[in-house]
């Protein structure tokens, strides 16, 4: 089976938009002022597309995902922006009742450390049945069972785990149960937050294959959050790079890796330790500005090797410098 994705002949304009995020802003209140965790992020996810959201810890990638689902916890709050599913449902303006019916049906989540999010005293089948029935109402036992077994089949789980408890499963299997739960209602979009982070490489490969497989079979769109660029290269169609609450580059994964434009993306790619060739370590001093008090101008100016006067005054907007390749950097204006 081959998973080659059509990232070469990308024609986004002709494709249906599964999710559009516009100028999303999330702040966390602290005694010394608000931390701008997500600072005006805009991007689109097309139907059937897998987009990777990468960046280092604290850059706001998980907060962005949580804001899309309106799951930001206090002291965090969504300050502004729009999140639209299938160009018609504005998630941020729904009442909480409406939201409950839309969430999971339209946008499902595979949370960080998903395998530990299963209820330890509930059988796997009951947890999936719960997700289905709370959205679609009560269903007959045989119908539910058939449906759950079909889901297991889709994610490559054996049917014998139907009656098992989470502790009887391995980490990779638990992760796949979470994927099964996420696709139970045939959502438009799945957000997977570090779906393979605590898994060993071989199991990681199996879980990644499962994600690709359901993407192909169901045509579902996905946002995969992570920091492992190697995994992203294997998995996603497009890459969105975040730094300090801002998107700095969005491009098809091939272009992002072979010709990264933003200095931060370059740094991120250079710092991947290679398994093919031994080379000198690339060392960078990494001091991010205080997120409560971003300096005027570009957010990356303190670490950027190409910083110029303009960067200290004007924040570069995210612009399309080549077809399908967006970057927020004055170097390309």
């Amino acid at each position: 089976m081959s998973y080659n994705t059509p990232s070469d002949d990308y024609r986004p304009n002709r494709r249906q938009v599964a999710l559009e995020v516009k100028d999303l802003q999330v702040h966390y209140a602290t005694p010394e002022g608000d931390v701008r965790a997500v600072n005006g992020v805009s991007f689109k996810v097309f139907r059937g597309e897998l987009i990777g959201l990468v960046g280092e810890s604290g850059c706001g990638k998980t907060t962005t995902a949580m804001a899309i689902l309106r799951l930001v916890q206090p002291p965090g709050r969504i300050i502004g922006g729009q999140v639209t599913v299938r160009e018609k449902i504005d998630l941020l303006s729904l009442t909480s009742q409406e939201l409950q019916t839309v969430r999971w049906k339209e946008v499902a989540l595979i949370p960080q450390g998903a395998m530990n999010s299963l209820n330890p005293v509930m059988r796997v089948k009951d947890q999936i049945a719960d997700a289905i029935q709370s959205h679609e109402g009560k269903q007959s036992r045989p119908a539910l069972k058939a449906r759950i077994l079909k889901l297991f089949n889709l994610v490559g789980l054996p049917s014998r785990i139907y009656n098992m408890y989470p502790h009887e499963l391995s980490g990779g299997m638990k992760q796949r149960v979470c994927i099964a739960m996420a696709i139970a209602l045939d959502p438009t979009l799945i957000i997977a937050d570090e779906p393979t982070s605590a898994l060993d490489v071989i199991v990681q490969r199996i879980v990644a294959q499962t994600l690709l497989d359901i993407k192909q079979r169901l045509g579902v769109s996905m946002i995969v959050i992570g920091h492992d660029i190697g995994l992203m290269a294997q998995l996603v169609d497009r890459l969105a790079v975040m730094y300090a609450g801002n998107l700095v580059e969005v491009a098809p994964v091939k272009a992002a890796l072979s010709e990264p434009l933003h200095p931060y993306t370059r740094l991120l790619i250079e710092s991947i330790p290679s398994i093919k060739e031994r080379k000198p370590l690339k060392i960078t001093e990494g001091l991010t500005h205080d997120l409560r008090n971003p300096p005027p101008g570009c957010i990356f100016q303190l670490r950027c090797p190409h910083v110029r006067d303009k960067c200290r005054e004007v924040a570069p907007p995210l612009l399309e410098v080549k077809p399908t390749h967006q970057v927020a950097c004055h170097l390309y204006e």
């Binding site: 280092e56 054996p158 299997m173 490489v201 290269a233 091939k254 790619i269 330790p273 370590l281 960078t284």
Partner: protein
């Protein structure tokens, strides 16, 4: 051969088996052997998945747990037979850096506290200025300045800074060996190189060897001298890091290296793999190869006895697999 710095001989650690566990035993480490020479300093990687026994080995070397059978020798002295004074001396020469740079600090103290404790416990300095100088020197080795960091609280430092301070704390004692248990797995990718570079510098400029415990073969490949790959408590393959990673022989190690995602969309994983449906992989049978249920090349004889390490190449390149029993 000159006297080794540290020698692990036939180390076996078995957990459980007691009344409360219902007699169930888990062999965390089995018949493990390792020698670290006195000179030159080396970075020796212990790699494997979770449950492979690598942290058990670290804890054994650090003296946190005791061996079931076997010996750990430090300069030919059995670590488990040492008296208190010798033990303290051992602790001074064998230091540790742990995985989580957030959990090792007490949030109520300024970070200076971790250095003060070390200096007090080992009586390193005669006066305050003397102590301060020692701390400053150690911080400079990891690229930090005392006045920048010492009077801060742990939450005011970045993960990379905290981890560098832990290395500085270990360096303060001028140890011969640092056991580094996943020191970079919780540090951001762009800062990882800095920690690895400090390890290289300590090895080359200060003659400090490392027992580098990791699941990440890419970083091991970038800095390691020798590597031991564990699978369920047994060494699957060992040898020179570059040789092993570029040319793995054991079927498990081949599968492992093949599964590391390459950051190039044109080099996709070439085939599907799956684990056997029967996921009772951790059966811990005493007989037979541990990798048997997953092995693509398994033979009948693999079930009868755990294969010993066969010499398969120069520089101590060995693999525990019957595929190599006749060839060499």
């Amino acid at each position: 051969m000159p006297q080794p710095l540290l020698e692990v001989r036939n180390a076996t650690k078995i957990y459980g088996g007691g009344f409360l566990q219902g007699g169930k035993q888990v062999v965390a480490l089995q018949e493990f052997n390792l020698t670290i020479p006195e000179r030159p300093a080396r970075i020796i990687t212990i790699a494997g998945e979770s449950g492979s026994g690598k942290s058990t080995l670290a804890n054994l070397v650090l003296g946190f747990i005791e061996l079931t059978t076997g010996q750990i020798l430090f300069r030919n002295a059995d670590v488990s037979q040492m008296n208190r004074a010798r033990q303290l001396d051992y602790r001074r020469h064998v230091q540790a850096v742990f995985q989580d740079p957030y959990a090792v600090y007490n949030p109520f103290y300024q970070v200076k506290h971790i250095f003060d404790l070390v200096i007090k416990n080992f009586g390193l300095a005669k006066s305050k200025p003397n102590a301060r100088q020692l701390i400053e020197d150690a911080l400079n080795v990891v690229g930090l300045q005392g006045e920048e960091v010492l009077h801060k609280y742990p939450h005011q430092l970045s993960g990379g800074q905290r981890q560098r301070m832990m290395v500085a704390r270990a360096y303060l004692l001028k140890p011969d060996l640092i056991v580094a248990d996943e020191p970079v797995s919780m540090v951001d990718a762009s800062l990882r190189a800095m920690i690895l570079d400090i390890m290289l510098r300590l090895r080359d400029e200060h003659n400090i060897s490392f027992l580098y415990i990791t699941h990440d073969l890419s970083t091991a490949y970038q800095v390691g001298d020798e590597i031991y790959l564990l699978y369920q408590g047994v060494t699957a393959e060992q040898g020179d890091t570059i040789r092993v990673i570029e040319n793995p022989k054991h079927p498990y190690v081949q599968q492992l290296i093949d599964s590391i995602p390459v950051p190039d969309p044109d080099q996709k994983w070439d085939s599907d793999i799956s684990l056997p449906d029967d996921e009772q992989l951790r059966t811990q049978t005493d007989s037979g190869c541990r990798f048997y249920p997953r092995c693509p090349h398994r033979l009948d004889r693999c079930l009868t006895k755990q294969p010993p390490l066969y010499q398969i190449g120069p520089a101590n390149h060995q693999a525990a697999c019957y595929l190599f029993s006749e060839r060499y």
